[in-house]
């Protein structure tokens, strides 16, 4: 996935919305900026398939040596797939955050609220202000 094609939450999650057999599916992960800020990841908790997620609400957690951080869903819908092996190979988050580092796929309700998210340019501006 190209970062330019993704939508972004202020809390540093990304979502790629695709059309799969007539329904909209959002693939969710966290950004390279977030991973660099976290550093020294040791653990991650992801939800189970079937869990309802809500935009801005916690769907999992990622833990570094220093602290634990919540993962917030950028979209509304239901989890239909989980990258369940990801917690066993956290280095993937650093090497391929927008591909193999995906976390969950969500069947969106409507557009899942994706239109409220930032585009790449707006997100880059936010990172520059925070970094």
């Amino acid at each position: 996935m190209k970062p330019e094609q993704l939508r972004y939450a202020e809390t540093h999650e990304w979502v790629a919305v695709t059309d799969e057999g007539g329904r909209k599916v959002g693939t969710v992960g966290i950004t390279a900026f977030a991973i660099e800020q976290l550093t020294d990841l040791v653990h991650m908790v992801l939800p189970k398939v079937g869990k309802a997620v809500e935009q801005g609400k916690e769907f999992g957690e990622v833990e570094s040596v220093k602290a634990v951080s919540s993962l917030y869903s950028p979209v509304n819908g239901e989890v239909i797939a989980v990258n369940s092996d990801l917690p066993n190979r956290l280095e993937t988050l650093g090497s391929d955050p927008y591909g193999e580092g995906w976390m969950i796929k969500v069947a969106l309700a409507g557009d899942g609220g994706a239109s409220k998210l930032m585009d790449h340019a707006a997100y880059q501006k936010q990172c520059a202000a925070e970094g």
């Binding site: 550093t39 653990h43 570094s64 040596v65 220093k66």
Partner: protein
């Protein structure tokens, strides 16, 4: 808001990509790149730490030893020149105001003086306490030397080899917990065989104006030894593995030295000091909560303020916790009732709503070979 204080090495930290945070009013590096890499460099080679934020207070005058002896839980009168002791400063109620190192040092010219190294977070409190405790009969003057000087810790198996070419005195020949005035890169300074990581090493105190030059020289001397700059993040994981208490976490005015496991830092024999009357009965108090070490079998770390449970009942609270880079598992310290404090006791920690199994283990978690 008042501006954050900067150490003489602040420019270096900023230029080397450090993530700088407010720590006790100082703008300090929490990490340069990775806490784990900095931690491992200290365990396997050498880590260099800017600890200039620690308070340094000098005591002069014929009454200095007696004055400090009255305020510290260990004897200061009779400490030979070059000796350093870990000690506590307590209030009248026996609560811990700070944990400190007291140095007895000899000047190049032969004069003797004492130095107190205190936590950055407690510097103002201790300066105020010293002023309040000093009576007209005390022939002592004390001077806050924190800003005029800089303090650097070099820790790890290669630390002394890196420092030997830079220090006039024989660093390797210094006994543990001794120190002396010497030259460091030809600047007058103090070297001591002390640290806060569980590794061998030393700490130096140098003029603030010479700190940047000396810091660079340490990296030049250490470049073939795997030397790394280390921030406060790894300083915390290193001291936690070594089970060294940190003020504001394991130590506070509500905690007495005995329950903190610091009986070695209290000398009650034939002497008096502020807080002794309140502390002495606590020595054998069988009811007070005790500091213990916990390991967890999962990967989620028990963090400060998480609650500790036995059979569903809340019995205590985590004071510090992290994922140990050396042991590759979560470690934590907590205060629990003595009936739950034996090594091997199975407890649980409430980690964000889930009871995670934890077991009491002997401290320290890590001891160098």
């Amino acid at each position: 808001m008042t501006a954050l204080l900067q150490t003489p090495l602040h420019v270096w930290h900023a230029a080397h990509g450090a993530r700088l945070v407010d720590f006790a009013g100082w703008h300090m590096p929490v990490q340069y790149k990775s806490i784990v890499e900095e931690h491992n460099a200290t365990r396997t080679a050498a880590g260099v730490f800017d600890v200039s934020h620690m308070g340094r207070i000098r005591f002069d005058g014929p009454g200095a030893a007696g004055f400090l002896d009255r305020l510290l839980t260990r004897k200061v009168v009779g400490m030979g020149p070059g000796k350093i002791r870990y000690s506590l400063v307590c209030n009248e109620a026996g609560g811990i105001l700070d944990d400190v190192l007291v140095y007895h040092l000899q000047e190049h010219g032969g004069g003797l003086y004492h130095l107190l190294v205190v936590n950055a977070s407690n510097r103002d409190k201790i300066l105020g306490w010293l002023a309040a405790q000093k009576g007209p009969a005390d022939e002592v003057t004390f001077t806050d030397r924190t800003v005029e000087t800089s303090m650097i810790a070099i820790q790890g198996p290669s630390a002394l080899r890196i420092m030997e070419p830079l220090v006039g005195a024989d660093v390797g020949g210094l006994a543990y917990y001794t120190g002396r005035e010497t030259t460091i890169c030809r600047h007058a300074g103090i070297v001591s065989r002390t640290g806060y990581t569980g590794e061998d090493g030393c700490e130096i105190i140098v003029p603030a104006t010479a700190a940047a030059e000396i810091w660079e020289r340490i990296f030049t001397s250490g470049k073939d030894h795997g030397v790394a700059a280390v921030g406060l993040g790894a300083r915390d994981t290193l001291r936690l593995e070594a089970a060294m208490p940190l003020y504001g976490h394991e130590l506070s005015e509500q905690i007495n030295p005995f329950q903190a496991g610091l009986a070695f830092a209290v000398n009650l024999d034939g002497r008096d000091f502020v807080g002794k009357g309140a502390i002495a009965p606590k020595k054998d108090d069988p009811t007070q909560p005790l500091r213990v070490g916990l390991t967890l079998s999962g990967k989620r770390a028990a963090r400060e303020h998480y609650t500790v449970h036995s059979g569903g009942e809340k019995i205590g609270e985590i004071t510090s916790g992290t994922f140990s880079p050396t042991l590759q598992q979560p470690i934590a310290m907590a205060y629990v009732p003595p009936t739950n404090a034996n090594v091997g006791t199975e407890l649980s920690v409430d980690i964000r709503g889930t009871a995670e199994p934890a077991r009491i283990v002997p401290l320290p978690f890590y001891k160098r070979k």
